[in-house]
């Protein structure tokens, strides 16, 4: 009897609301707190306020632009990685796949002396193909995605190095900044624009645009339902007619698209690419998604959560530098802050769903 909240005004419960609809009658605040992105929003806000107080130099607009830039390069990849995770799968090859894409575009244009857009297009095709391969391999063999993408991770790591060395005779690519099309591509992938005297990187805009797009897909389309369904229970999903194979393969391809986009940003922002980079980044993308409220088991999460997850990561990363703390402790600070923020996130979710 005492379970009902303060709004015990409508005993007959009119319309479609059934008798057991306890969740439907909970107060709005609690229902909001139960959403996957709200915990991380509060965590990110806490970290933000903390550094506003602890590090005076964070308070300028320029500093915020730097934090947002760092967040966006993580966030652009965390978005598709989160969608894939909601669909119940992992991609450990996501970090080196970024470098594979950048290397492909750079070497193809340079070695054949072509307009850089040719390289960009071929890199996109290759990145989507790698995603499709991951998905196809997993569906076809029934192996866990952890194992399949671990294999791809190692293959790509080796291929990045060996092919670069074979083609350029160095382990880094040549400078393509004086080639045709570079200026245009840089405008799209790596330019910045002024807002009230502050230079904002274009990746921040793309990040938010893609986040909005992903949210729409997830919440308003049939495909979005499929993603939740295959992540929640694959067999039941298949039984009710969800195209499981198609959904999983396209999710992996979305990660491929993200890798291409970030890879192009790195290429057009730094002109050359070192073939050994990218290792370890996959864990940061996964961490941003998990902090952002996606469950490691799949079937639960949002697209906006990882936006705050990536922001939190960027904020802590740069905040420590802005605060001027002893850099020997850098990694430890990072770990403690992330763990703390994740616990806040978890606590909020528990409190919200308990009552």
């Amino acid at each position: 009897m005492s379970t009902a909240g303060p709004t015990a005004t409508a005993p007959p419960a009119p319309g479609p609301r059934t008798a057991g609809g306890r969740t439907a009658r909970r107060p709005l605040a609690l229902r909001l707190l139960a959403r996957p992105e709200v915990g991380v929003f509060l965590g990110a806000a806490a970290v933000f306020v903390f550094f506003l107080i602890a590090a005076p130099s964070v308070r300028s607009g320029g500093s915020m632009a730097t934090v947002l830039y760092q967040s966006s390069t993580i966030g652009l990849m965390a978005l598709p990685v989160a969608l894939l995770m909601i669909g119940g799968e992992f991609d450990l090859s996501a970090g080196v796949a970024v470098i594979t894409s950048a290397l492909t575009a750079s070497m193809l244009s340079y070695q054949l002396t072509m307009n850089v857009w040719a390289g960009v297009v071929v890199a996109l095709v290759l990145s989507l193909a790698i995603g499709a391969f991951n998905g196809w391999m997993m569906v076809r063999t029934g192996l866990p995605s952890f194992l399949v993408t671990l294999g791809t991770f190692l293959i790509l790591q080796g291929v990045n190095l060996a092919v670069t060395k074979l083609v350029t005779d160095n382990v880094a690519t040549d400078d393509i900044s004086d080639m045709d099309g570079f200026g245009q591509a840089k405008k799209i992938f790596a330019s910045s624009f002024g807002v009230g005297g502050v230079q904002v990187k274009i990746t921040v805009v793309w990040w938010l645009v893609f986040a909005a797009l992903a949210t729409w897909v997830l919440l308003r389309t049939k495909y979005g339902n499929w993603v939740f369904a295959v992540g929640g229970d694959q067999d039941s999903a298949r039984a009710v007619g969800v195209p499981v194979t198609f959904t999983k393969i396209t999710l992996f391809m979305a990660v491929g698209f993200g890798a291409w986009f970030v890879g192009m940003h790195e290429l057009f922002s730094f002109n050359t690419v070192q073939s050994g980079e990218g290792v370890g980044q996959e864990l940061i993308y996964i961490a941003a998604s998990v902090i952002g409220g996606c469950l490691l088991t799949g079937g639960y999460g949002s697209a906006i959560g990882p936006v705050f997850g990536a922001f939190m990561f960027g904020m802590v990363n740069q905040g420590i530098v802005y605060a001027g703390w002893n850099p020997d402790w850098f990694k430890a600070f990072l770990g403690v802050m992330l763990l703390g923020a994740t616990l806040v996130n978890l606590w909020v979710r528990r409190t919200a769903t308990r009552r």
Binding site: T113, V121, D328
Partner: protein
Amino acid sequence: MDRTFHPRSRRIAPLVALTAASLLLAAGCSSDSGGKKAEESGDGGTAGKANTPRMTVALVTHQAPGDTFWDIVRKGAEAAAAKDNIDLVYAHDPNAGAQAGLVQNAIDQKVDGIAITLAKPDAMKDAVSKATSAGIPVVGLNSGLSDWKKLGLTEFFGQDETVAGEALGKKLNAEGAKKAVCVIQEQGNIGLTQRCDGVKKTFSGATENLYVNGTDMPSVKSTITAKLKQSPAIDYVVALGAPYALTAVQSVSEAGSKAKIATFDLNKELTGAISKGTIQFAVDQQPYLQGYLAIDSLWLYKNNGNYSGGGEQPVLTGPAFVDKSNVDAVAKYATKGTR
């Protein structure tokens, strides 16, 4: 089975078409500037070849994959091997235990000589003593300046990282710098830490260290930018590797800072930046020379019983300064990827 996979093959068709279309598109639009066509092919420096009996030498380093620096060391070693009629076996692993395992592997192959780096000397001790008791001469290169004699190596080729750091610190004094930040791209790497310690020792201004994530360039860029904003008094950024120095150029302009940039180690793009003046100078330890001398010394030892440094003194390959005054002489070799 057949039915399930049928629709997929239909879906592959457009993908193939897209690939083909993009290749065709690519073929139509060539670049009028830059690219491979513009690259001038360097003259291949092929010396004569020794007619001594074929011997096998192993080079075992602590290189992490895809690092431009180690690529240059390897090229030097390969050049010496080609000249000396040596079969060069190259292996590397940044994990000290795994590197020791690679030395054991070389002993098992009964090679005629081993060249190793001692980034973590204690981990390599047993492997080295196994090699020497098997009668295989071992020489050191690059890292391990303070330990090579203790471990029973016959020769050592490299740069004293602390001395190199000290040289850079003195140069900063001459440039009139007041406050420097030393950017470390790999937390816990002894050689990198020694460089920054050396700078701190001789530099009369203030210095502090900054750790960045070396495998993620956007993160390197924003972290240096953040540091420059947090501490606007910084007037010199000291990078410990060429790619990080080039990234620091962008950070400096984004932070609106007036800081100048100096670095350790060279590559092709960096020599360009020095002649343009966006980077002031580089301290070069001549990695090509380290690889070349280590392999060549094993040939000399085997065929003429020579020891460089007489088994007592290390052979120093650096620090050599590259700045605007001498960059042109160095640039043509850097373009070939050997300097």
